[in-house]
């Protein structure tokens, strides 16, 4: 964290970390202590997970016991449901680090007449908090409490405010969940946020082009700054909720002047000595133009130079990739056997984009590669709505650069000879270098052409070069003389290098 960021944190409000790390960054370090936060969301949006993680982090990492007041599920159900995130609720209860107040519906025959208060509930919460020496309180969900006293909404509002005030007075940090009817309608049923919340957080699980997109948004933070807008989240087993923010927008990466080989000597020459070590290069071209070949060379070149290389494939199987490499004289098997190369292939549809991103990040943490190739981004693009894909790309490129890893991504053009490419437009501004591969018709022959279109911070050969592919890989030849305007359509759509 930089010094400027630290200054942004309000010094008056002490922060309580939720354990949802990237989320804590959105709210300047955590939820304000002694305040009430309402977490709203539709059924299935992850409210209980958020709430449990808030308690879990306090219990396991910060020695801050908690109280879980449940109005819906029984404590036994919560224990079972949350076990998949690796939270040992039973163990915490036995160690007196977590106390439940079970206000879930019981089998009683009840009638409400006239005025009442919720002193019973408050007394139980305070009793549990005192016994466990709790610092954090969760009430999940308040909406159920309203349903319980369905004819007395006014009384429940008044009593909730009383409870929130009493808990704050005890120095407790309160998190209440509330149900929402729709993803973009009123903030919560019964407008709970209006009378009781210092802070409001919204969890969403929206259907976007037939895909679920989970996000978190900080709507309001009384007396404090926060990052605005929806941030993608994902639920990870044995871990809990993870936010995937666009941290990269800060452009904090150091620019390295160290060059690494592209794996092709001629291409290195064209780009004045190879790619930058902490840069991301995009290879764009129609199917069959040689993108996977460039990827293969990039991997092999790194391994030959003593680096570790990671290849994440979304289009072809391991078998296909290995066979391709062999046909170009590259032996992936022995590289993997030496531990210098790792090839991971996945169906894009196997998981959501945020999950893919987390998986790539985990692979990088684990394997610690010096270079990474992703083949192809277009395959991932087809599983995600536009905004989600952009966020994914920003996070991915930022992550790669931060680790000072050389990255190579491919994108497939839909048209065979030049023309538009949606992914190019998306990706081009986010990558440091762009290499275009195209089919070029000359008389009755189809040739392949390559151009280094953009290379941030470096001179490069701007000629269109013809190339051939054989058993030895890619061979760049002479510049194409009088090339037809097959690059034109695409070039016009790609912003020039700064």
């Amino acid at each position: 964290m930089t010094a400027t960021e630290e200054r942004l944190i309000d010094p008056v409000l002490e922060r309580v970390k939720t354990g949802i790390e990237a989320f804590d960054d959105l709210v300047m370090g955590g939820l304000p202590r002694r305040r009430t936060t309402v977490v709203g969301g539709t059924p299935g949006s992850g409210k209980t997970v958020f709430a449990t993680q808030f308690l879990a982090h306090g219990i396991t990492d910060l020695d801050e016991p908690g109280v879980f007041v449940t109005f819906e599920e029984s404590p036994a159900d919560i224990e079972v449901n949350m076990a998949s995130f690796g939270w040992d609720i039973r163990g915490w209860r036995e160690a007196n680090k977590l106390a439940f107040v079970d206000a879930s519906p019981r089998d009683t025959d009840q009638m409400v007449v006239g005025d009442f208060d919720l002193a019973g509930l408050l007394a139980r919460i305070l009793y549990a908090a005192k016994n466990a020496k709790a610092k954090r309180i969760v009430l999940d969900s308040i909406t159920q409490l309203f349903d319980h006293f369905v004819t007395d909404e006014k009384a429940v509002r008044r009593e909730l405010l009383r409870i929130a005030t009493a808990l704050k007075k005890e120095g407790l940090t309160v998190l209440m969940t509330a149900e929402r009817n729709s993803e973009y309608g009123e903030i919560s049923r019964h407008r709970i946020e209006e009378f009781v919340a210092d802070n409001v957080v919204i969890l969403r699980n929206a259907l976007d082009r037939e895909r679920r997109r989970r996000t978190i948004e900080v709507l309001k933070m009384r007396g404090s700054r926060h990052v605005e807008g929806e941030v993608p989240i994902t639920l990870v087993s044995e871990h809990g909720m993870v936010a995937v923010p666009l941290s990269s927008l800060r452009l904090e990466q150091q620019s390295s002047s160290k060059r690494v080989t592209s794996g092709n000597a001629e291409l290195d020459k064209m780009s004045s000595g190879g790619f930058f070590r902490d840069s991301v290069t995009l290879v764009s071209g129609a199917t069959g133009t040689g993108k996977t070949l460039l990827v293969t060379n990039f991997m092999a070149g790194g391994v030959a130079a003593g680096e570790r290389a990671l290849l994440v494939g979304f289009e072809e199987s391991r078998g296909q990739l290995f066979r391709n490499a062999r046909s170009w004289g590259v032996d992936f098997e022995s590289m993997e056997a030496d531990g210098r190369l790792k090839v991971v292939c996945l169906y894009p549809e196997a998981q959501s984009l945020p999950d893919h991103l987390l998986m790539i990040q985990e692979l990088v943490e684990e394997f610690k590669p010096d270079r990474i190739a992703i083949d192809s981004l277009s395959a991932l693009e087809r599983i995600a709505p536009e905004t989600g894909f952009r966020e994914f790309l920003i996070s991915l490129t930022s992550f790669i650069k931060k680790r000072e890893i050389a990255g190579l991504c491919t994108a497939t053009d839909k048209s065979l000879v030049g023309g538009h490419s949606a992914s190019e437009q998306h990706i081009s501004t986010l990558t440091d270098s762009i290499i275009l591969l195209r089919y070029i018709q000359k008389a009755e022959f189809m040739h392949r052409g390559l151009i280094v279109l953009k290379m941030r911070g470096s001179e490069h050969d701007k000629q269109i070069r013809r190339f051939t592919i054989d058993g030895g890989g890619m061979h760049l030849g002479r510049p194409v003389e009088g090339a037809p305007d097959v690059f034109g359509g695409s070039v016009a759509n790609v912003p020039p290098a700064p």
Binding site: R106, Q110, G114, L118, Y127
Partner: protein, 102 residues
């Protein structure tokens, strides 16, 4: 006020959950005496102050006060809020038949 006392009323024990000395709790305590009188003392109503006994509130799952609860039946039968209308309370707990209340 006359109430038809069921034969087993003597063994019936109700519990009245209140919270401290609030005006509502005071009213509930007074109503308790009215109820006992209406049943000619043939009912015991135990007062549980949950400020002193939060564990009892937890055990019984009490959220609201005052609550008058008959825990001798399954599931427990509970009346939350105002219990000053003696006839209505007795009817709710089955100590007073509807026709005799008229």
């Amino acid at each position: 006020m006359s109430a038809e006392v069921p034969p087993d009323a003597q063994s019936a024990v109700l519990r009245l959950y209140v919270a401290g000395d609030t005006p509502g709790a005071g009213r509930a305590r007074r109503s308790r005496l009215d109820l006992i009188e209406a049943l000619h003392g043939k009912v015991a109503i135990e007062v549980v102050d949950i400020i002193d006994r939060p564990d009892e509130a937890e055990k019984a799952g009490i959220l609201a006060t005052p609550t008058l609860s008959d825990e001798s039946v399954v599931p427990p039968r509970r009346l939350v809020g105002d219990i000053s209308d003696v006839a209505r309370v007795l009817e709710y707990f089955g100590y007073l038949k509807k026709d005799s209340a008229a």
